[in-house]
């Protein structure tokens, strides 16, 4: 089944690697946004099946973007997976307060990223 994913990440390289990984390996339809604000707008219009959301972004960071997504009835139901290079214990505790589906750690393996996401979301 072809799923639709929105990737929100300000880093061009990570965003493009993730997008091409999900398109090439899994055959999913991918849309990207380079900021939290752009991500909110695209999520509302595009209504993806899931969102892969970077934590550290200038302006609106990942947790703030997530909370805004939750406030909007059009996007509140969309499962969100955080993507972060922060792996310290204090960061993990901060993410634990958020009702996200999973926290995926950078760097990721482009060959298995889609399987990770599918596993978390129960997609076949």
């Amino acid at each position: 089944m072809q799923h639709r994913i929105l990737i929100i990440d300000d880093e061009d390289d990570i965003r493009e690697v993730a997008a091409l990984s999900l398109e090439t390996v899994a055959g999913w339809e991918v849309m990207v946004a380079n900021s939290g604000a752009q991500g909110l707008a695209r999520a509302s219009v595009y209504k993806p099946d899931a969102i892969l959301l970077d934590v550290m972004m200038p302006g609106m960071d990942g947790p703030t973007t997530f909370r805004e997504l939750q406030k909007n009835p059009e996007t509140a139901h969309i499962p969100v997976l955080l993507l972060t290079a922060k792996v310290q214990a204090s960061d993990k505790a901060r993410f634990a307060d958020l009702d996200v589906k999973a926290v995926l750690v950078k760097p990721f393996d482009p060959m298995t990223l889609s399987a990770q996401i599918a596993g978390v979301l129960g997609w076949e």
Binding site: D13, I14, E16, V25, A85, P107, F108, P110, M111
Partner: protein, 102 residues
């Protein structure tokens, strides 16, 4: 997927080299006692980005080195990495970038 990754490597290599250059500049400024808090913050952010991306391109050791720089630069200056260690990390990262063939 390997072909896609190699294309992206070529596309983003200049960006990664710029990030390493920032770490090298910070090491030099630290050695001269001229490192500003803003430079330190910027370098920590660039190290964070390197840590996130290098392993994705198969450079796991690069991720560890960049993470060491990020953590060191994001803490108190007194307990941060020495100028020599930062310069060493920068040099090792630069070598890794140069040695990885598309």
């Amino acid at each position: 997927m390997a072909g896609v990754m190699n294309r992206l490597w070529v596309q983003f290599l200049p960006l990664m080299e710029e990030r390493v250059a920032i770490l090298e500049a910070v090491a030099a400024a630290l050695a001269e006692g001229a490192l500003t808090p803003d430079q330190r913050l910027e370098a920590s952010g660039e190290a964070h980005k390197l840590a996130g991306v290098l392993g994705t391109f198969g450079l796991s050791e690069g991720t560890l080195l960049a993470r060491e720089a990020e953590v060191g630069l994001s803490g108190e200056p007194e307990t941060g990495p020495s100028a020599a260690r930062l310069a060493e990390i920068g040099a090792q990262l630069r070598t890794m970038l140069a040695d990885r063939k598309p």
